[in-house]
Symmetry: C2
Subunit: 389 residues, 2 copies
Amino acid sequence: MENFEFNNPTKIIFGHNAEDKTGAETAKYSKKILLHYGGGSAKKSGLLDRVQSSLKKAGVEWIELGGVKPNPRLSLVYEGIELCKKNNLGMILAVGGGSVIDSAKAIAMGAVIEGDVWDFYLGKGEPESALPVGTVLTIPAAGSESSTGTVITKEEGQLKRAVNSDLIYPGFSVLNPELSFTLPAFQVACGATDIMAHLMERYFTNVTHVSFTDRLIEATMKTVITMAPRVLENSTDYDSWSELMWAGTIAHNNLLTTGRIGDWASHDIEHEISGIYDVAHGAGLAVVFPAWMKYTFKHDLNRFVQWAVRVWNVDLDINNPEAVALEGIKRMENFFHSIGLGTKLSDLKITDDRIQEMAEKCTAGDTRTVGNFVKLNRKAVNDILTLTK
Amino acid sequence: MENFEFNNPTKIIFGHNAEDKTGAETAKYSKKILLHYGGGSAKKSGLLDRVQSSLKKAGVEWIELGGVKPNPRLSLVYEGIELCKKNNLGMILAVGGGSVIDSAKAIAMGAVIEGDVWDFYLGKGEPESALPVGTVLTIPAAGSESSTGTVITKEEGQLKRAVNSDLIYPGFSVLNPELSFTLPAFQVACGATDIMAHLMERYFTNVTHVSFTDRLIEATMKTVITMAPRVLENSTDYDSWSELMWAGTIAHNNLLTTGRIGDWASHDIEHEISGIYDVAHGAGLAVVFPAWMKYTFKHDLNRFVQWAVRVWNVDLDINNPEAVALEGIKRMENFFHSIGLGTKLSDLKITDDRIQEMAEKCTAGDTRTVGNFVKLNRKAVNDILTLTK
C-alpha cells in the first residue's frame, strides 16, 4: 500500500426531499450566489423552482446561468467567471449532473484569479483558492458531487482537459434519488458506465497489498451491475436508485484511491473521442474499456482473474487463467450491451479515419505516455483505438 | 435505505513515518496544546519523543498528561479539563489507542463548558462546541481516530457511558502501521474483535435496501478476518498491518452507517461487563456477540444466511437456512479462538453471579431497551448474558 492523505470534506445530504435543505446549506457559505444549471430539464421538472424557493427561504439571492451542455464548454465558464466577479458572488450552486458541477468548479477557480482559468487545465500552475461550490445532483454518474475533479472542453482545438484539486471538493452535495426518475435510459446507461469506469481505473493498479480497497471496489462494482438494470427496468424504483446514486458518489470520492495508484488511460483516450465527436462520456468509455483491457490484461493476469471471478462470477479455472480473464471482459461487454450501449467505435456512429489523430493528441505527439497500469505511448493508444473498430 | 447526512471531516495521514507530520498538522489548530497519552509504551517505544520533536519543529508548545488506562476514567478527564482551562490550551493531541483518544474527546468537550462533562454521557444535554482533537494512532481497534464517539468510565458506580457528536470528529489522525509492531498479541486480538464488532453492529439492521453498504461491510469484515491472523503470525508485517489499520478506521467512521440503523446492543451489554470487571473491551465483545447472535438470529434469518455465506464462505443450503446461519456463528467463534480469545464469560475469569445486576444496569432497571435489530429488555439481556456461561 502507498502512503496517502485522505480528507474529503463534502457534506452529503441524502434522501427524499433532500433538495429542500439546499437554501440552509448554501446560506452557511454565502447569501449571494451563482445558480448554475444545464438545459431545460431542471426547469421543466420543477426542481429549479424548488431549489429557488429553498434559497429564498434562507435569504439567499442568486444570479442564474443556465445552458451547460454535456462535455461542458470553456466559453460558458468564462461567462460564469465574469458574472461572479462583476456581482461579487460568494458561491456557485450547481443543479444538475457532472457537466454542470464540473463547469461550476471551473468558475469557482476562475472567479478568484486575474489570469486565465484554462491555464490550470493545461497544467500551467495550480489553483491556490476557489469559491465554494454546492451541488444538487440529478444523475449518478460523474461523481463530481464529492470529487476533486473537473473536466472542461475548449471549443477551439476540441481540447478536453481535467484539473484535480482538493480546493474544489464541493462544500455540500444534495442527493435525492427521486431527481433521477425522469432521466432518459441512454443517460442512465452512460452514467452507470461512467461509475464502472471510475472503479476500474482505480482497480487496475500495480500497487500490491491493496486487498482491502480491492474488496471495497468490487463491492461497489457489484452494486452498479445489480442496480443499473433495475432502474432501467423501473425508472421510479427509489430503492435501487438510492443504491446506485450512493455507489456513484463513493466510486469517485477518493476513498477508493487510498493507498493505490489508479490508471486513467481509458479516461484520457475517451476524452479524445468525446473532445472531437462530442459523444456522451459514458458511451465512449463503454467502447474504450474493453479494448484497453484486451490490450493490457496479460500485464497482470492474476488481477484480471480476481476481477473476473469476484465481480463477474466467472468460475475460477487455474488451468486457463487467460480464459477466465477474457470471460470477465466478455461479461463486462455483455453488461454494457444489456443496458443499451455499444462497445465498438461504429456504435457511436464514428468512422475510424481519425484514430491516428486521437492517438497523437492523447500523447501530445508521442511526447508523453498515458496510464499507470501500463504506460501507453502513441502506438499503444493507436493499437487500442484500432481494437475498438 | 434511510435518509442520511454524512460529513466526516477527519484528515487521514497514512503510512511510513506519518507521525513526522504531527507538528505541522497540529500547528494549523493551535500553538499550545495538551499532549495526552497512556501508559509507558508510547514513551518506551520512542514515539512520544518523535511526536514532541515534530511539535517543536512546528513551534507548538505542550503540557503533558499521561496515564490514560484502558476503559478510560472520568477522574483523569477532569484533570485534563483543568489543565486546558488553566493554561488556555487550544487543542488535545492524543497519542495512543482508543482509550487515549476517547479521553481526549471528553477533555475537548469539557474544556469549553462551565458545567460537568459527565452530564453529556448521562444524556443530559448535548455539547455545543469542543476544542479540536488530533490523534496519533497506535492500534487498529476502536476507530475513535475518525469517529464521533467517546466512551468513558466513571469509577463511582462503575458506569461506562458513551457520547456521540459530530463536534468530536478529530481534525486529523496520523496512522502509521509500524506503530503497532510492538503491541502484545492479546491487544491485537482485542482490537481486531472491536473492529469486527463495529461492523456487525452496523450489519445487523432492519432497514431494507441497503445492499451496497452490506457489501462494503462484508468487504471490511473479510479484510479483518484475513489480516488479523497475519499480523499475529508476523508482528512486523507492514502490508497486513496497513490493511487492518485502514479497515479499522473505515469500520467506524460512519461511512458504513449511511442509510442504515445499527444495533449496538452488544456494545451496551459489553459496557456493563467491562464497567464492572475492567476487562478489555474487545475480549468482552468476543463473549457477548456469539450469545447475542444465538439469541437474535431467527429475527432475520435471511440476513444471517447472507452474512454466513458471503463473509464466512459457508455453503448456501436452501433447505437448511438455520444450519447455515449457525455455521456462520460457529466460524466467527472459531475465528475469535484462533486469534487467542475466549467466547465464554469464564474465559474472562468472571463468575456468573452478577448477570442479573448487569442486565439491570444495562436496561436502567427495565425502564429502557437496548439494541435496534431486536429491542432487548432486562429479561432478554439476562438471557443473552446467561448464554455466555
